[in-house]
Symmetry: C2
Subunit: 239 residues, 2 copies
């Protein structure tokens, strides 16, 4: 069964509509993006949600692209026009979250020591995230997606590569704050590596535990970062 054959209504496309929080304005606000644009957005959201739903219930490898497109009632080709590959769908939300964290870090006061800023950024970010996620998919779904990624070898690999790229960006931000050069001074990358190491550990512990609340991961992170302090902290600008 390579392609669906249009028999029922595109249920997912419908249910996708009553989302987003464009402040209820029917005309002004951020300007209606035009019918074409909205339709596209709806299709993308529908594909995303259908995919995550399937991934988390029957597994990533076990889910076929055809199965996804069948639910949303579009052709397989259309799926690949929205997402470069099956993997990309799984990280759509993560992508957003990471961008938010980096932004959060950039906004930290310049006086803060590297690890203080990182700590502040991640803890602050956890707060806002819940909201923005909900705009696209239920938080609960994002939670299970995260756990699913951690337990799917190929996705875990992709996740790590993405993390590495993010780490690189973070290291550059840190280096900039401290007036250092990332490529000659190892400290920014080392600090970020250690920091990210803690993130990964807490992330895994959280995924393995019962409490899937945002508070849970926030507190765990905070606690672990406290342990990291004595080992890595210290203001580099006053040797």
């Amino acid at each position: 069964m390579k392609t669906g054959q249009r028999t029922t209504e595109p249920a997912e496309l419908q249910s996708a509509e009553p989302r987003a929080k464009p402040t209820e304005d029917p005309s002004p606000g951020p300007a209606a993006p035009g019918l074409r644009e909205r339709k596209k957005q709806r299709t993308r959201d529908a594909l995303l949600r259908a995919a995550l739903e399937l991934f988390t219930t029957k597994g990533f490898e076990e889910t076929t692209v055809d199965e996804i497109t069948e639910i949303v009632e579009v052709s397989q080709r259309t799926f690949f026009r929205y997402f470069a590959n099956k993997e990309e769908v799984a990280f759509a939300v993560q992508e957003m979250v990471e961008a938010r964290f980096v932004q959060s870090l950039r906004e930290r006061p310049a006086e803060e020591a590297p690890l203080v800023a990182l700590r502040g950024a991640i803890l602050g970010a956890w707060e806002a995230m819940g909201q923005s996620i909900e705009e696209v998919v239920p938080v609960e779904l994002h939670m299970s997606t995260y756990q699913m990624i951690e337990s799917t070898p190929s996705l875990l690999a992709a996740h790590l590569r993405r993390s590495m790229e993010t780490e690189d960006e973070i290291a550059r931000v840190i280096a900039e704050r401290e007036g250092l050069d990332v490529d000659s001074d190892p400290r920014p990358r080392v600090a970020v590596a250690a920091f990210s190491g803690v993130m990964r550990v807490t992330g895994r512990l959280w995924g393995a535990g019962e409490d899937t609340s945002v508070e849970s991961i926030r507190e765990l992170t905070e606690q672990y970062l406290d342990h990291l302090g004595p080992a890595l902290a210290g203001n580099w600008r006053t040797p």
Copy 2:
């Protein structure tokens, strides 16, 4: 062209023979593994070398499994009986190297502080590696394979996942040395994360530079680890 059609001699299989350094004994020693076993080993080695050769010259994605099997003159199915997937071939040597490092770490004197042991293990391992690698493929080939992995997204991802698993093992070894529990005390994992971060940075710098000698990477590693010291060192057993 799905399968080759047996016309020329299996050149690679032949040239694969005069390798290994089984101390020249024709009968005693570790006991001859029998014809069947040796034949299998030769096929595996031939596949491995042909694959790496192709990967490093024309790229991983651009290399077809059929192309590999065509050179070695075996069926595609046979390839997949030796290697679970195309990826696995690319990491065959790395696998060996990592195992050697972990072993090297396990043999460090118990008195050494965590980072001292890690440092000693990696520097010592770099020495021996050259030899054992040569038993399977030319060192030069392994070097270019490493660089190739770093510059191929999908392989880099896989590489990181494998690294993570190795890190986990290392963290457990460290924790054991210090009498700690990896899951409750974050320090082992954090230290290993920082250490691995340095490894990754030096590895990338080395791959980007000119000098592809083993000494080069050894010295680079040493130098960077020295910088890490003041930030993470300290004997945990005397708080």
